[in-house]
Each structure stands twice: as C-alpha cells, then as structure tokens.
Symmetry: C2
Subunit: 207 residues, 2 copies
DNA sequence: GAAGGCATGTAATGAGTTACATGATTAT
DNA sequence: ATAATCATGTAACTCATTACATGCCTTC
C-alpha cells in the first residue's frame, strides 16, 4: 500500500458533501511521472511482475547505468496503482505477495511519454570526474590512484557489456541491444580517457 | 540558517544536565557528506562565495554534466556550517547576504575524500537512452524523432565544450581542463552513436 | 534443524525538486 | 520611473537512501 496515499494533496470536494454521483474515475489531477515511473511501466510491459521481479529485470539492464534502490522499486508500483496505471493482485495466504500488471491507461502513458520530445540534458554522475575536477586540492599520488581505479572499473564494465552483448544480441529486443551498444561505446571511451591520462601522468614523472 | 538544524538527531547529553565543561567541539557524530557537499567544499577552495557565486561557478563547470538545483546550493552550505567545515559571515544591513568560506576542517575533509578510493559506478541518467530501451512499445516515427533530437543535442553540447576548451585551455587549472576533455570525448561518442543509429533507421526504410 | 542467502517489505531520515516570493540593479 | 532581469532566499512537497525486520528456501 502506498503509505502516503492519504497525504493532503488537493481538496476536490468538501468533506461534508454527500457522495456525489460521479463514477469515481481516475484521479482528477494526475501526478507527474518521473523516470522511475516509466522504468516500472516499461518493465511491466514485458508481463506481470512482483517488485522483486522488477528489481531483477532492472538490475540486468537499465540498472547497469542508472541505479534504483530496491525500496524505490517497492514504492513506485504502489504509486502507479494509485494513479490507475498499474493494477495489483495480492497473493492469498503466505506473505500476501503483490503482483503488478500494467493497465491500458498505463500503456497509454508510456506511449505518450515515448512520443514526447526529450530536451533534458544527459547527466553523468561520476564521482571520479568530480575528484579529477578538484584534484588541485589533493595529492598527486591520489590522482594517479584515482586514474588507475577508474580505468580498471570502466575496463571491466566494458568487458562485461561485451560479453552480455554476445549472449543476447540474437535473442533480445533490437532496441535493447542498441542501448547496450551505446553503453559499450561509452565505457570504451571513458576507459581510453583514463588510460591516456595515466600515460600522461607517468611520462611527466620521468621527464 | 539551516532550517532543519534542530531536528532530533542524536541525544548527546540529557537536557537537564548543567552545561558540561567540554569545549564544544565539532559534532560528535559527523554527517556523511555527499557529492553536493564536496562540490560546495571544492568550489569554496577557490575563495569565499555566496550561494549565488557558487551557483555560477558550478553552472560553468560541473553543472554541465551534473545538475544541482539552486536551492541545493542554498541549503548545502548551511549544513556544512553546522558541520564546522564552512564558516559564514552575514552582511550587515541590506539583505543580510551570507558569504561562506571553507575552514581548515573543510579542506581536510575535501583532501580526505580525494584520497579515498572511488568504487562507485558512474551513473548515466539519460532519458533518451531509457526511451530507446523501451522503444518497442512506441511508434517507429517517435524513435526516429528521438534519435534526431538526441543527436542534435549532443552535437551542440560537444561544440559548446570545444569552444569552452579553446577559451580556457591555457589559463584554467590543468585538471579542470582534463575534466572538460573527458566531457568532449563523451559527447562526441554519443553524438556519433545517434548519427549511426539514424543512418541505420533510414537505410532500413528504403530497403 | 541450523546457517546462510534469497525474497519481501517498512520506517526513519535525509536530500532533491518545484514553486513561490521579493529585494537590487540595470536598461529603456 | 517602469520593466526586466539578476540575486537571494524559503516552503511545501516528493523522492531517494539507509537501515531494519523477517519469512522462506536450500544445503549441509
């Protein structure tokens, strides 16, 4: 259950009025969906899922470059249910596990989003880059260490992507494969950057 | 003033005790700093600044790839003051504008962070990539539009970076220039990806 | 049948976003 | 002297992160 569902949001009718004859449709004013919402909607397009299933689907794919905490994946479907974009069935007995499915409205919302322009700038949240930016205030040795760590990290991610690509290129959705291909190019670029940088640092030292 | 400074955090002494003779040092248990904190600390290393100054410094530089809302830049320094890592002076009269300076503890905290390993994965928050990933659930025409938009956006960012690089390469901090160079490589890579993708989409259409 | 990890969830806290508000300065 | 924009800040709300809690399943 969405634990903030009863927060004061917008008064749509006076509390003392008797129930109006309206058929209790979708919320009058829709919440503005965010990236998390669309990720959940998109993943549910592949079929009903529990939060844990979603967590898995995301971890293999989008989670590689855009992390979502597992509690987000437990909260967001509940919000989408409140929005009428997702429906939920609760297992009888046991842990009363919830399974979510996307509704027709949910599919429509996803399609509408896909049809919408995308003017937002990409954000690259890279602590390594931040550290490089402020390196003047630290030690030279730390910078070299940073470069080596970041190089290794991106090299290994790139390698992982390449393997994944081999395994799924023939079977997966073509656009998902494309996404992965951008991931590969990105990782290789950054890997190369740090490699070049290490080389520079080391050549300066010996001069 | 940090408007949540008086939230219940951790009781360090019973309220009824008379003031102990301790010299009221830094907070017993330090808040865990985050990226925003270090960005502010780093920017303050270049000299005292108001929040607006910080906003500017960030907008020209780090803000290009990692966005911070201006209210964050107003909140975070206040927290750092509470942490003892930043000091503040309040203008007398007028708007009682606050100017922040980094303290010795603040510099130490920044240096410590720079000396720390960086195992976190880079996050790339790109709505275009998300849309590509879920493109199977949308229209072909929307995908082509997406590709064109994203191509143009990255092309223009790359160009902007190149100009900036020309202007500052000789005068700015060497590591900051390096950061920019990674930005350029990144933008060029992504630009090229979308260009290739557009070409593919268009060649399929004519077959 | 106990240990350890997998699956499922909630609570508390802290951070980020959006919208609002308004004083100062500059340009017309 | 009015408008426009820059500079400065707060409030309300939403979202994300961290830590906790615990049932369920496998394996030894």
């Amino acid at each position: 259950m969405y634990r903030r569902a009863d927060h004061p949001r917008e008064v749509t009718s006076l509390p003392s009025e008797p129930a109006a004859p309206e058929p209790a449709r979708a919320p009058v004013r829709a919440r503005k969906l965010n990236a998390t919402s669309y990720v959940v909607l998109g993943m549910l397009c592949h079929g009903p899922a529990t939060s844990y299933d979603l967590k898995q689907r995301i971890a293999y794919t989008i989670g590689n470059f855009w992390a979502f905490a597992h509690s987000q994946i437990y909260d967001e479907p509940a919000r989408l249910v409140a929005d009428g974009l997702v429906s939920e069935t609760v297992e009888q007995g046991g842990r009363r596990k919830r399974t979510y499915s996307i509704t027709a409205d949910g599919r429509a919302a996803l399609r509408a989003w896909l049809a919408t322009p995308t003017p937002e700038q990409t954000e690259v949240r890279d602590l390594g880059l931040l550290k490089l930016f402020f390196a003047a205030f630290g030690e030279r040795a730390d910078l070299l260490q940073l470069a080596r760590d970041r190089y290794e990290s991106h090299r290994s991610t790139a390698e992982g992507y390449a393997e994944l690509h081999e395994r799924i290129a023939d079977v997966a959705d073509a656009w998902q494969v494309k996404t992965l291909e951008l991931g590969m190019r990105y990782e290789r670029t950054v890997e190369q950057f740090w490699a070049d940088f290490i080389a520079e640092l080391e050549s300066e030292k010996t001069e």
